[in-house]
């Protein structure tokens, strides 16, 4: 009997919870209806006194998920200037983006690498002419604890420390056991902290550092699974600080402001290079890559919305503010000039 009463009580509680939740939901909905309509009204009234030279239309962008946040951020800043231009950005990946771009389905393609010859042929076949614009740099800082004697690591070293074949390695010197030519690493505890699979930095790190070596050795291009993965860069930095012989990586823009960690030099084949804004912007620092947008020339010609958007992209708000806002490294002034010249001379 008592058990039955308890059951009744539990079921009653669940029902009450469901009802309360439903009631709250109603409140939420009521709250939603009001502000969203008022917002639409206000955006409508904003549009009326807009200055001369306003354009309207739509811009369709697809491509790299790494570049996606930059294009979205540019669109958000652009919205304040040209509220009637609807910019839609998708991020299925650089390759998929170029397929759509060369089929003429998108106006702009985001890319975390330059267009491949085969992709350029597809574009040529369907008569899509494009202009390539370098917009920013994705740099990744490789770090360790402040008092670690190691100063510089090669790509082989990194592969030996965190590559797919290093699963279970507990010491820095274990990296040499894979038969790769590695630096002389100390026999010290190896504590690894890095971004998890959901992070774009995780993918970039694999593509830049690990992929080629893994392909050569017939391995999957990924990291070892047994490290401290975290989505929050702050937690990764704290982890690296907590041990003298830690190893880890985060996006450069974030690491640049961190204290209590040592940024390792990286040797990508041309000697050890330290990570700083200059070496990344110049491309000397090897764990970095340029980010591009490709603009369909004919569409930019035909649509004032597309050309106005790219014009804005080329401004300091685009190449400067937007790129930095979402955590990437700005181009040098010289490189910005080259990009702008490319756009102007299309």
């Amino acid at each position: 009997m008592r058990l039955q009463k308890l059951l009744v009580l539990i079921i009653g509680l669940i029902t009450t919870f469901a009802l309360v939740a439903a009631a709250c939901g109603n409140d939420d909905d009521d709250g939603a209806a009001a502000p969203s309509t008022s917002e639409q009204q206000s955006s409508g009234s904003d549009a009326q006194p807009a200055p001369a030279g306003t354009v309207s239309g739509s811009v369709t962008i697809s491509g790299s998920s790494t570049v996606e946040p930059i294009s979205v951020r540019v669109a958000e800043l652009f919205e304040d200037v040209q509220p009637d231009v609807a910019v839609t950005v998708d991020g299925p990946g650089t390759g998929d983006g170029f397929k759509l771009f060369c089929a003429g389905e998108t106006d702009i393609s985001d890319a975390s690498r330059q267009i491949k010859d085969s992709e350029a042929e597809d574009c040529a076949e369907s008569g899509v002419e494009w202009v390539e614009l370098r917009v920013g740099i994705d740099g990744i800082a490789v770090m360790t604890g402040e008092s670690n004697p190691v100063e510089c690591v090669t790509f082989n070293d990194i592969y030996g420390l965190v590559g797919p074949e290093s699963t279970g390695f507990g010491s820095w010197s274990d990296a040499g056991s894979l038969g790769l030519a590695t630096s002389d690493l100390p026999d010290a505890d190896l504590d690894i902290y890095g971004p998890g699979e959901e992070s774009g930095t995780f993918d970039s790190f694999i593509e830049i550092v690990l992929e080629d070596i893994a392909d050569e050795r017939g391995q999957d291009a990924t990291t070892r699974p047994d490290y401290n993965a975290n989505a929050d860069d702050n937690v990764i930095i704290q982890g690296i600080q907590s041990s003298d012989t830690s190893f880890g990586w985060v996006g450069f823009a974030f690491a640049a402001n961190a204290s209590g960690v040592k940024l390792l030099d990286v040797d990508g084949g041309d000697g050890c290079v330290g990570a700083n804004a200059n070496t990344i912007a110049s491309g000397e620092y090897p764990v970095s890559r340029s980010l591009y947008i490709y603009v369909n020339k004919a569409k930019a010609e035909a649509s004032p919305a597309v050309s106005a958007y790219v014009d804005f992209y080329m401004s300091d708000e685009g190449l400067g503010t937007a790129v930095a806002d979402v955590g990437y490294v700005n181009l040098t002034d010289e490189a910005k000039g080259a990009t702008r010249a490319n756009w102007a001379g299309r």
Partner: protein
């Protein structure tokens, strides 16, 4: 007779034992308690999930509920315009498509299979296939949607649009609707049907006046549960045009013209997207939790409607 006698004997014996020994039914008690434990375990997991997600999203949900429900997709988590309005509109329309397409077709198919179809190899084959279809991974339906509705019926659906997504998800839940409706119709007592025939009803009148009203609560529960499943799907939507970065337009709930406009957003997709964004901007984790709560409330509201309607029909049934 002999059998009845035997049962009577055994009952007698048990009664006598119970009276003599006054022992409690230990095994029955253990069984009852273990059942209660299973209930508590599942409730506990549910409670942990809900408490965790509500706590994570609390800041946004209480801080700016209107702004969050009215906002759009943004690149930075501390943007005051960040919100789920576009995704809510998308999910609302997908739910409408599922209701308008999957329910009548599914219930119609179920009535035919239960009441009209001859019981032969062919119908058994169809039923078997419907059951198999209910277990097909959702991404396969996404591929179907991409091939059929996005590429080949672009003229009707507008390509990668909310219409393509709605039709794809309607097809995804169709087998579940058919199966649950069949079960509900099968549960209608034979006596009711025979009674209707007895007073001279035709088959159609019998189905309309007896079978459907009696089966309505069961059909309703099944269909709305399948809708809850449908609007929680993210994978197929990514193939038929849900965008991951930014959606240029912010349609209202009743902007019919945008149903076949290019690109759309939906709640499950925005949740996936924000969880991924949390890698670059940890504040998105909070936004994702808040979006999960909004989706949960949406589903609870839908289920509450189902329960209300079911009670309504049950009362009518008497």
């Amino acid at each position: 007779m002999a059998k009845a006698r035997l049962v009577g004997d055994r009952t007698n014996k048990v009664m006598v034992q119970a009276m003599e020994r006054r022992s409690t039914d230990v095994r029955g008690r253990v069984f009852q308690i273990s059942l209660l434990v299973t209930l508590l375990v599942s409730l506990f997991i549910l409670a942990v999930l809900i408490v965790d997600v509500v706590m994570d999203g609390w800041g946004i949900l209480t801080g700016r509920p209107g702004g969050f429900l009215g906002g759009t997709m943004r690149s930075l988590s501390d943007d005051p315009k960040l919100g789920v309005h576009q995704a809510l509109v998308g999910t609302f329309w997908i739910a409408v498509f599922v209701a308008v397409l999957a329910f009548p077709i599914g219930i119609g198919a179920a009535i035919w299979l239960e009441e009209y179809a001859p019981k032969n190899r062919f119908t058994r084959f169809i039923e078997l296939n419907i059951r198999n279809l209910a277990g097909v991974p959702s991404i396969v339906y996404g591929l179907l949607g991409l091939f059929l509705f996005v590429n080949h019926l672009e003229g009707v659906t507008g390509g990668k649009s909310i219409a393509s997504a709605g039709i794809t998800l309607a097809i995804l839940v169709l087998p579940i609707v058919v199966i649950t409706a069949q079960e509900a119709i099968r549960a209608v007592p034979q006596g009711l049907k025979e009674g209707a025939y007895g007073v001279g009803a035709t088959k159609w009148t019998m189905i309309r006046s007896q079978v459907l009203p009696y089966a309505a609560p069961g059909i309703l529960t099944g269909t709305l549960l399948s809708m809850s499943r449908g609007i929680g799907e993210a994978a197929p939507l990514l193939l038929v045009g849900a965008v991951s970065g930014r959606l240029g337009r912010d349609s209202g709930f009743f902007d019919f013209g945008d149903i076949n406009a290019d690109a759309f957003m939906a709640m499950p997709v925005i949740i996936v997207e924000w969880v991924q964004n949390s890698g670059r901007d940890p504040g998105f984790a909070e936004a994702a939790a808040a979006a999960i709560v909004v989706l949960l409330v949406f589903v609870i509201l839908m289920n509450a409607t189902a329960i209300f309607l079911r009670n309504h029909f049950e009362n009518k049934r008497g």
